[in-house]
């Protein structure tokens, strides 16, 4: 008889997620379900509101992908009203959106995702001298794509690693692991050596400081992070910050510092993890469905939103086939609620324009597990032309790559070549993580 495993809540993500996995007699997962256990109700809150107020409220659906819902809903209202914001507003919005990419990807890699790969306790066994050599090895694999110089490690000396180890020892000795408590330390799926773990842990701790700085990038022109406030329908309000050379200088300084961290810590660590877990990546573990969609991001000209050129191109790639890219056709997007705690007036998926949000909570089964035959999640199921597609950083990079976008191709090839990895490696969990890093590199 197999087991029914419930993990709820899943931590180190934004939101409320529950996973249930069905295991067979040999402890192999044969089926798995995910459920969003909290309802936000933003659509209902929006009903009857002045469209100008919508962006500020819609943004509050999430404090991690902060600003991006703000930006999108502002553009949506502009689209509906036929408003094109002035050039300076477009540039400032791009800066704010870019600062989100930098901050979010670094936080995701180190503070949310890294501990799936990095065994913090194992770092205690590391030799600091060897750790310094290890850090140098991975950093030196990269050359700066602009200056052509060899990248040097973020923490170069043996002393830096010894200090991190001392800090960790104090955590363990006090019996309070803090952010590192309740993990699966020592599990055999952790594959990094103690030295590699120590390098990654040192960057984890440094990234706590760095992300605080990166958040300021958004605050300079946005007012704060999370939830910037300077976008209005038709433009931005931060006139005095745009005009102020000290503000521009501050932005430049933090951006430079962020770039240093990205190139000397984040990207080398990614190569290290990618190489150590390359076998998993090549097997395609965690690749999902292999369908990718990107809407396009970062406005490059002052044409209306839906007609303009974007830094990251839009497109759809199906079944991991990089030879064909389809244009995104929004009319093919629908949302299905068969397994979601909502009901529609008609029993077929609806296009968002015709969308309905009528909650219908049916609860859990009597044994406390998800009723997966019926409704079991607060998330509607989005469909693109009968396909389930992945969106996000990896999708943007794959669509850009398949389109032959020069900039994206350059950065993807540059990083993969540095780590001696084939393109195939992208279709995996490692690849999804790499997608974020690749996207961060040109931003930094």
């Amino acid at each position: 008889m197999g087991k029914h495993l419930v993990i709820d809540p899943i931590t180190r993500i934004e939101g409320h997620l529950r996973i249930e996995a069905i295991l067979d007699e040999n402890n192999v997962i044969v089926d798995a379900y995910s459920s969003s256990t909290m309802w936000r109700g933003i659509e209902i809150i929006m009903k009857g509101r002045d469209p100008r107020d919508v962006p500020l409220l819609a943004m509050r659906i999430c404090g991690v992908c902060t600003g991006t819902h703000y930006y999108t809903s502002t553009q949506t209202v502009e689209h509906a009203l036929g408003v094109v914001p002035p050039k300076n507003a477009r540039l400032v919005r791009n800066l704010i959106q870019g600062s989100l990419y930098i901050h979010d990807h670094v936080v995701h890699f180190y503070h949310l995702h890294a501990l799936d790969w990095v065994d913090v306790v194992s770092a205690l066994k590391a030799d600091p001298k060897k750790a310094a050599a290890e850090a140098k090895k991975w950093a030196n694999m990269l050359t700066d794509p602009i200056t052509g110089e060899t990248i040097q490690p973020w923490n170069a000396g043996e002393g830096a690693y010894r200090a991190v180890q001392e800090r960790l020892k104090k955590f363990v000795k006090a019996g309070r692991l803090g952010p590192f408590a309740n993990a699966y330390w020592g599990n055999k799926s952790y594959k990094l050596t103690p030295e590699q773990n120590l390098v990654a842990v040192s960057h984890y701790l440094d990234a706590l400081d760095m992300q605080r700085e990166m958040a300021k990038l958004m605050a300079i022109f946005g007012g704060k992070n999370p939830h910037p406030q300077s976008f209005v329908v038709g433009g931005v309000t931060c006139v005095q910050d745009i005009k102020n050379p000290a503000r521009l200088g501050q932005f430049g300084d933090i951006l430079k510092k962020s770039r240093e961290f990205i190139y000397r810590a984040y990207l080398p660590d990614l190569l290290m993890a990618g190489a150590v877990y390359a076998d998993e990546a090549l097997k395609g573990i965690g690749r999902g469905l292999g369908n990718y969609m990107a809407y396009g991001d970062f406005r490059m000209d002052d044409n209306p939103w839906y007609k303009g050129k974007t830094l990251f191109p839009q497109g759809v790639v199906l079944n991991m086939d990089l030879s064909t890219v389809y244009d995104v056709d929004q009319s093919k997007i629908t949302e299905d609620v068969t397994h979601s705690w909502y009901e529609y007036d008609i029993s077929q998926p609806l296009h968002p324009f015709e969308g309905q949000t009528k909650p219908k909570y049916t609860g859990f089964k009597e044994d406390g597990t998800l009723d997966t035959k019926d409704k079991y999640s607060w998330i509607k199921s989005p469909i693109y032309d009968d396909h389930r597609v992945e969106v996000g950083p990896l999708a943007r990079m794959i669509v850009g790559y398949a389109r032959g976008d020069e900039r994206i191709k350059h950065y993807v090839d540059w990083l993969l070549k540095s780590g001696n990895l084939p393109v195939k490696v992208l279709f995996s969990t490692v690849g999804r993580t790499a997608g974020r890093a690749i996207e961060t590199a040109p931003n930094g």
Binding site: D50, D53, A219, I220, G222, K224, G234, T237, G363
Partner: protein, 150 residues
Amino acid sequence: MTHSLRPKFAFGYRIHDNCERRAHFDAGEFVEEWGDFGAKNNFCLYKVGCKGPFTFNNCSIVRYNEGTNWPIGVGRGCIGCSEPNFWDVYATERPIADSPIQPPVGRGVEASVDEFGLGVLTATAVGIGIHAVASALAGKRDKEENKEEV
């Protein structure tokens, strides 16, 4: 503590009390619409919906992200995001006069956090009364729902 049981050191003052644009409010210099002369010269944002006079928080003192900036600094105005019922009464681009929230009776925007609290408590007491009646009516239904959950 304030009326909503928040510490006064942080929630005891209005955003308005320590606002860097307060002088423009006092001088009657307002941003009338986005991008106008006032917007370019850091005038007061009251008329484009700033809720600073009704929001008790210390944003105007400590700002955000280690003092980097804050909403009024970027010319948008406060939306009262830490106030009760923020969703329904504060987050609008309209001036307070056009908003459901009204100044407490008496000294208006000059009222202290305690006086403001008194107004809120009175409103709450009325609300509790209404709620009690509504609960009694809904009581039977609640019991049935609870039963289902068990």
